[in-house]
Amino acid sequence: MATILVVDDAAFMRMRMSKILTEAGYEVIQAENGLEAVEKYRSAKPDAVLMDITMPEMDGLTALKEIRKVDPNAKVAMVTALGQQQIVLEAVKSGAKDFLVKPAEADRVLAAVSKLCN
């Protein structure tokens, strides 16, 4: 089964996402910030990434760009709060494949992830 990297500085969001994904049979790894996300991407080579935008150490947009340097085909979906439209646009321009608006319903998360993995 596919491995998904969930990146979010909020433990609650990571937990919620992980729960949704593991229940659907995905393997989940977690990162607390952009820097950790890049490291984990390098070491674990996940099939897809759900990336929060606002995080300490390294934000989601920078992490997206770093990951794309490591793997130009990386499948990254941004997870955004409302009001970050311009950042999401920037992310899409920088190669993000999709986005989810928080709080995302489970079926949306799963639909996005299965799209990324195909």
């Binding site: 609650f12 009001g83 439209q85 899409v92 709080p103 319903e105 996005a112």
Partner: protein, 701 residues
């Protein structure tokens, strides 16, 4: 069915979620509250879309936390709205009524998430009503077939870049893409579609234009002229791979027709489908919201701030303002004491710093005050619903027009202004606007118009409520005041009409012919005036019989600071709000008489009772007026005036209002307190209550 009222409830969310859920629910409910009444008649498709989306969002979030009742009620509302949206059901008043009833229940249900106790609301009946509305043979809304086929204009020379490809046999396709109506960032989906089109071919033109999409206008539909070697199926598959894309329609365009105006796709009328909105989503083809030009909606550049935090900031700035004033005083004292040349440089430095500090503090205070401001929209938006309800109850026909929703004022004032405004509006509908028959007989349109307008001027906000009703019956008012023994017949007859209309603010007067359950019994305009004046505001009315009435409210922009005349009396400093002060003079300039054993000031042909301010405010200490003369401050409340005796005038000042509750507990005759430059307490005088009770404390001669 047995009632479940009072049963504890459980929801699937923690405190963090709860806050988010409530904020969002409140936002959506507020949106529904503002817009549902506008649904009736021939609503703007964009509005219907917005309302639908609000119901949809509420459904989603309530289902997520496991609030079954709320989810099933919002589902029913969404189903009805979906029918309206697709033109299968005209938004008649019964549709709107059913939706409004649902909305009222939603508020209670949303609150259950906080109380965690079943409120006993039975949603089944509301849902049945909604479904009944849907099934009833109501006239369908204007048929979508009547809609024009949208026309897109291909800019001149758009295809020039692609002739080479066209000559090589690439096809030219007109592509129309609709984004699902519940997508929250549709512009980005449009941008992704645009990206996708560019990855499979050349995009010769697109609507809206690229920069409009990038600016995030929030459009749910886009179209493009695509030059590609792919087949129709391949294009459709590629574009449908973008999340939230609900529909892709396209057709090949011969090169000869790919310039100038080009016909788009007509919106097909939807077949009534199963009411499951999941099914509705699957074939979701939202009507176009905006096609051309930038949309008015812009991504908001704001953050939410807890009100308490803002209040805290305002308090801190208040402290800074006090320190600033204190520093300025110290500087003045120092400069008068230190004339030593060796210190002059130091003094200059000190002066510079204090004046800089003063400027920055002022600016900071201003900015924080601004950040506490809210547009009056939040108050005005509640009015259409109110007017509609009252009009239905009274059998009147009324149109409400509001303007100036953007006008901003302090949130503390917003909270206070709502009740008086509601009262004035009820009055306007109930007493002002005539019945349709009466209006017809008077040669007026059957539907009356009430307008509520807000605007800013200097440091005040004005709210005007105007109606085109029957006007105030001055003859009836004259009769009433005489009947109630408030005035002699001669005085009442002699008063000019402009003055008579102000009598509606007198306590205990109501000219309505019968008591209705709408405006109640004469409670009202006097209390409205008292409340407004308590906010340091003023209210005036003017009226032309048979033509209408206008009520104007003037309020300060903020209650956090107020301009005041500072005075001292018996060793205490008082602040008298400047709006109430009519005159301030030294005793030797004042025309003081003794009438009926009481000191009276004669001012501009009026006799004002003279009141010792300190005594009136309960200062029981022995009182000695200064031997070198005292001062008199005349102040008004409505059309009553009184003159207050004080020891000294200390000048005008902006004072930061602090509630007395924080310091002393409520005290009669005072609205608050302020901290003065030297750190002592100044008391803010409540002129309204003092002037009203004047007789009791007039100074014996």
């Amino acid at each position: 069915m047995t009632s479940t009222k009072g049963t504890p409830l459980q929801f699937d969310l923690d405190d963090e979620d709860l806050k988010l859920f409530l904020e969002e629910a409140e936002e959506q409910i507020e949106l529904l509250d503002q817009s549902l009444v506008q649904l009736e008649g021939e609503p703007d498709p964009a509005l219907v879309q917005r309302i639908f989306r609000a119901a949809h969002t509420l459904k989603g979030s309530s289902a997520t936390i496991g609030h079954k009742k709320m989810a099933s009620l919002t589902h029913a509302m969404e189903t009805v709205l979906d029918a309206v949206r697709q033109g299968r059901r005209a938004p008649t008043s019964e549709v709107v009524d059913a939706l409004l009833a649902g909305l009222d229940a939603l508020r209670v249900l949303a609150n259950e998430v906080v109380t965690r106790v079943d409120s006993g609301i039975v949603t089944e009946r509301l849902e049945a009503d909604l479904m009944a509305v849907l099934d009833s043979e109501g006239p369908a809304a204007a048929s979508p077939e009547a809609q024009d086929v949208p026309v897109y204009v291909v800019p001149a020379g758009a295809l020039e870049c692609c002739w080479e490809e066209v000559e090589q046999g690439h096809g030219i396709f007109f592509v129309d893409v609709v984004v699902a109506s519940d997508c929250q960032l549709p512009s980005i989906r449009c941008y992704q579609v645009l990206q996708e089109m560019e990855s499979i071919g050349r995009l010769a033109a697109c609507w809206p234009e690229r920069d409009v999409i990038e600016a995030g206008g929030g459009e749910y539909r886009m179209a493009g002229l695509l030059v590609t070697r792919q087949t129709e199926e391949q294009i459709a598959a590629a574009l449908k791979a973008v999340s939230d894309v609900a529909a892709v329609r396209l057709r090949a365009v011969p090169p000869s027709e790919a310039t100038g105006p080009i016909e788009g796709f007509r919106d097909e009328p939807q077949q009534p489908a199963a009411s499951s909105s999941e099914a509705a989503e699957a074939r979701d083809e939202a009507p176009p919201e905006t096609l051309r030009g930038g949309s008015a909606r812009k991504a908001s550049q704001s953050v939410r701030i807890d009100v308490e935090r803002l209040d805290g900031l305002m308090n801190l700035v208040g402290e800074l303002v006090i320190d600033r004033t204190r520093l300025q005083q110290v500087r003045e004292q120092l400069s008068s004491v230190l004339r030593d040349a060796s210190l002059s440089e130091l003094m200059d430095n000190f002066e510079e710093t204090t004046s800089h500090l003063a400027r920055v503090t002022d600016e900071l205070q201003e900015q924080i005050m601004r950040s506490r401001m809210l547009p009056v929209r939040s108050v005005l938006s509640r009015l259409p619903r109110l007017v509609r309800d009252v009009a239905v109850k009274c059998g009147k026909k009324v149109d409400l027009v509001t303007a100036g929703e953007e006008t901003e004022l302090d949130r503390s004032v917003i909270e206070e202004i709502s009740d008086p405004l509601v009262h004035i509006l009820r009055n306007a509908v109930d007493h002002g606007i005539e019945s349709p028959e009466e209006r017809r007989a008077a040669g007026k349109p059957e539907t009356g118009t009430i307008s509520v307008t807000a605007w800013n001027q200097e440091t005040y906000i004005y709210l005007a409520v105007r109606d085109d009703g029957r006007g105030i019956d001055t003859a009836a008012l004259r009769r009433k005041v005489v009947e109630k023994g408030l005035m002699t017949r001669e005085a009442a007859e002699a008063a000019p009409d402009e003055q008579v209309v102000q009598w509606i603010f007198m306590p205990g007067l109501s000219t309505a012919k019968q008591v209705t359950d709408v405006s109640g019994r004469g409670v009202g305009m006097d209390i409205v005036r008292t409340n407004i004046e308590r906010l340091n505001g003023q209210i005036t009315v003017s009226s032309v019989q048979g033509k209408g009435t206008e009520v104007i409210i003037q309020l300060p922009l903020t209650l956090a600071t107020t301009k005041a005349l500072m005075v001292s009396a018996n060793g205490t400093v008082y602040a008298i709000p400047l709006v109430s002060v009519t005159e301030a003079l030294a005793d030797h300039e004042a025309d003081i008489h003794t009438v009926g054993g009481r000191k009276t000031l004669r001012l501009r042909h009026r006799l004002l009772p003279m009141i010792d301010l300190a005594a009136a405010l309960g200062d029981a200490r022995p009182r000695m007026l200064p031997t070198d003369g005292y001062f008199v401050v005349a102040a008004r409340h409505g059309d009553r005036q009184a003159a207050f005796i004080v020891d000294r005038l200390l000048g005008e000042q902006d004072v930061v209002v602090k509630s007395l509750g924080d310091m002393l507990g409520a005290r009669k005759g005072l609205t608050g307190a302020t901290i003065l430059g030297d750190g002592t307490l100044g008391l803010i005088v409540d002129i309204a209550s003092l002037v009203t009770e004047q007789a009791a404390v007039s100074v014996p001669a």
